[in-house]
Symmetry: D2
């Protein structure tokens, strides 16, 4: 941690700051600059709130953190990439993994038909929401346990592992009975009560970046799960909120190489939520394969114009088959296999 | 809802769209424009996902919603302002209400000393966090039930009603035993599982806007609580995330008059989290009083440089006394009393 | 400037960085931390691009600037506030200055009628655009010199100094003949060719913050004008672009105290462009007076529903009179006079 | 244009709005909804400021534009893609075009060495800035005409066409003597005085999107140039400003397919400015090729650690050679040739 003193700060103020830093267990090192002094506080700065609070002392201009605030998620701790097994499908290895299915589980027919279609097109994992975090209380809130049962049935029918979203820590045990992977949605990325519960569960966690989450905060959310003991976290970039409204969110494609440089965890891209329009899902999927992502999550619905949620961004099964075919050369150019 | 057809859409496409709209129970009304046709879908559009999904039909350019998606929070339903009683203190009426206290409950001494100081300075409600949603798993996570007990003790000592944050729906019953009002933090504003539980509780809810929540989404989150039966929701503007980093967040001061025009619920401003630096808390508090807010939430700590969280944005008791004195002319100019 | 080395950087890499820093004329100072080394580069870091480029050297993690990049605009150079005379009206002193008038000069009748009305209501300076930077090439582009003549005529008729926007450096001489102050619009805040020309002119400059400009970049733009010799720059906060669309822009009210802490230049608020809706202009004007701004710029049009630009955010003369009356207690509470 | 009336608006208010719309030359069409009335204003809404101003009339809730505000840039006017010839290199056709070179022209040696290196690696066009729009007045401002001469010399030496940035309309004639294409930088994207001058010039224009320019505003800026008669505009996505700071800007990769759907103009990606770190330039270049861009603009410097600007995001010549080799399979997968 670097503490920058104000120009003209008094000797007494400097001494008070030095004393405080030492009281907190850090060594100090002063650089006398041309205009002002700068103090290096040497020591582990994680859990650094008390050091940061020194910024309120008289004579201090600002406190600049130097170390990354996460450990277990970091490439500095574990340099080789983590490969995670989801019901037999490996994410983060040589294979490029495609997770596909409807936004919400709406009915037996809808789920099973869509599941068979995505399986046939080459998808590796089936998605489907049984508990839906909807902006409006008047929107469809999900089929809940009934939906979980249909997901299990779809797995029987197709052999595809299944992933579903959890929104309440109290549902963890029930959901674990039915699915192969838990998804944490963008709105819950800093729902720390939920993350802690998932850190104690013996299933992989598919963690979506929030609309307003920086990459560093995103890794801190992963760290919550890792710190509780669950080391199987898959990160998903799904678009951030910006001023641009031509797309539902702005896909932060750079987040993939940035994350790859900072963490050993796998990184998947969700172009459906990012774009919000099915027309853009194919080009963004190619870009995701090219930039080095470990896979995709794609919304597919057998009749998008009747979907109770996200119809506009869902692909029809034939469009999804086309996508699987058209991304293939890009997946291979990236040295992966579909 | 307005459905805009593409330029050159075929007659057959238009007819298909018209049929779908009618099948969903809406009346249709066509405007033949110079370049394209526009269809009005007449009927209540709340729970409108299926109408929105029509955007995926061939020939449709876009679907434009016309009605606001919330009802119970709306001024159109209830024109007079809602006044909410919090342990005897009325928020939303003639009085300008100041909620003050530390970010986290850290110890008996810290809480009681600070509580007595803010009471003496004229604060109306005491705040203090017992469950802390921290970005880092390695930061202090709160004193939990021990903290709730200290809050109750501080209420005894000062007569101030108390408010604390809830982060897990499972804690609702326990917290309700100790406090006068629940707070929902910015990171949980779209934690719908939590909002639904709070909608069934017989205490007022202090709902903070998220860092990236639009005003409309914010009102939808309030609507979740209202729709479950709890009509006592207080809205809090606390800064949104933007590109500017000179302040921790950007206080969206315009949100106060915008919300006042859209809803009957009280609106409070939290300048401490918005600014992130104690120096800006006083001028922003004056601005909040002037713009028409119903009150303030201010972080006060008896020794900010030792705070385990948010020390930089906390006022010392003497600075808080100064604030109470200096905002008074602005509160009176706004036709309110402190 | 602080140079943070990567964890595990080689001794040779460190030495190479040290050599480069010294070659650029800076002294070096090393702090050996627990996990990595940190180098202080001691010396003036303005014009620091070459130091920043060291970030591309092997073994370097990041380069952190310590000093503010502006000088002449800084409070560290000049602690007392700058008061600027605009045709006899002082901005930045005890008086709270209101600049009012139409967005565009549209006709003789429109300008003169509006000018007389704002003068009568108590405005101090008249605004009116003769050169309009419009998003669309098909929108009204301004009356140009004809508009300048009408502004001069309005000054004759009312005694109010006038301000108008410049969009092309080539127009500077012509405009200088007619007006008392130049305005630089938000879209030109980093039009450095324009700023340099205005730095050589003997008139005050009213510099609007851009929609995408950080406070530091805004001060760097002021520095361009100051560095050329023109020390009369007035800063104007007019809203930044964020994800929120309930208002046209988001008024960054915190920018006022932040700027007041960083610079000696006067700071004015434009609530009309920030809000984009006339209903919010009054509450935001009160907030601006309360937060410590030196004045306001308000759009007034005698018939807003007929305005060729910005009709929605323009006040009618009677609404403007009401505003002047209603902000008065807030101006006085702030220790200023209207 | 759709005009939405307020709930409970009076018959008289509705009639007044209808009259105004007709007075402006539009036909009206009323839809009587369940809660409120909606009026369709039928006619060309470009130059629509007066219609938009109706939003300030009593009884009006909001005005919703339906048509796109641009014409000449639109795919609806010209469906086939525009191919632009830049000194013999075709942009927008089957070839994938790479523009490369230093941020600033710094010296004869620097430019010529870099030019020869990028030519050898396979670049098609040389870039280099002679007039530099720098945030700080104390940073290097460019070699000006001397730099232009060096660019012409580099073209002689390599056969590569050259592009350079213009920052002042007054320089247009001089620059036209030396270069094959003009670049408009991100900060000047809404410098309409500059755009108008470039619309009258007989050279292609390389127009960069601003950091906070929406895609629609970006196309309106292109429309300014097209409307003046110059139909050779190339659009460049170079990252937008968001809350994320891990990269200098956030590359809006979705803008490529969005633009391709809206306009016939070529779209190029600049990953160097978007990322701000040379490490991310290669993966983002692959993504740009995959998503369907027509080419790349890449910063290359023979000694990045000595660059006077943008050293951190510049590739060394050997890294650039590697990039040309590694993007090739992605370019081919996209059906283009390098």
């Amino acid at each position: 941690m670097i503490i920058v003193m104000r120009q003209g700060a008094a000797k007494k103020e400097l001494n008070e700051v030095l004393k405080r830093i030492r009281d907190l267990g850090y060594k100090t090192h002063i650089i006398h600059g041309v205009e002002r002094d700068v103090i290096g506080a040497i020591g582990d700065e994680r859990g650094k709130a008390r050091l940061q609070s020194l910024e309120s002392l008289s004579g201090v201009e600002k406190v600049v953190p130097i170390l990354k605030p996460f450990k277990l998620a970091s490439r500095e701790i574990k340099t080789e990439p983590t490969v995670i097994d989801v019901g037999g499908v490996k994410i983060g290895g040589e294979g490029f993994v495609v997770i596909a299915g409807p936004c919400s589980v709406e009915s037996r027919e809808q789920l099973i038909e869509t599941a068979i279609a995505v399986k046939k097109a080459g998808a590796h994992i089936l998605r489907g929401g049984a508990y839906k975090p909807r902006t409006s209380p008047y929107s469809f809130q999900g089929m809940e346990e009934e939906g979980l049962k249909l997901l299990a049935e779809a797995r029987e029918a197709t052999g595809l592992p299944v992933v579903t979203e959890i929104v309440n820590p109290a549902d963890a045990e029930l959901i674990a009975k039915y699915v192969d992977m838990f998804q944490v949605g963008a709105r819950n990325v800093q729902n720390f009560a939920l993350l802690k519960v998932l850190g104690q569960i013996d299933k992989p966690i598919f963690l979506k970046r929030g609309m307003m989450t920086t990459i560093e905060e995103f890794l801190m959310s992963a760290e919550y799960i890792l710190a509780e003991g669950n080391r199987r976290v898959i990160l998903c970039e799904r678009g951030i909120r910006t001023f641009e409204r031509a797309t539902r969110n702005t896909l932060d494609i750079s987040a993939v190489p940035v994350l790859k440089g900072m963490t050993h965890l796998p990184v998947v891209v969700d172009p459906s939520h990012a774009a919000g329009h099915w027309q853009y899902v194919l080009p963004l999927s190619k870009a995701a394969a090219a930039v080095g992502a470990d896979g995709l999550m794609i919304e597919v619905h057998y009749r998008p114009e009747e979907a109770v949620s996200d119809g506009l961004q869902s692909l029809k099964p034939e469009k999804f088959r086309e996508l699987m075919r058209e991304i293939n050369p890009f997946v291979r150019a990236a040295g992966r296999t579909l």
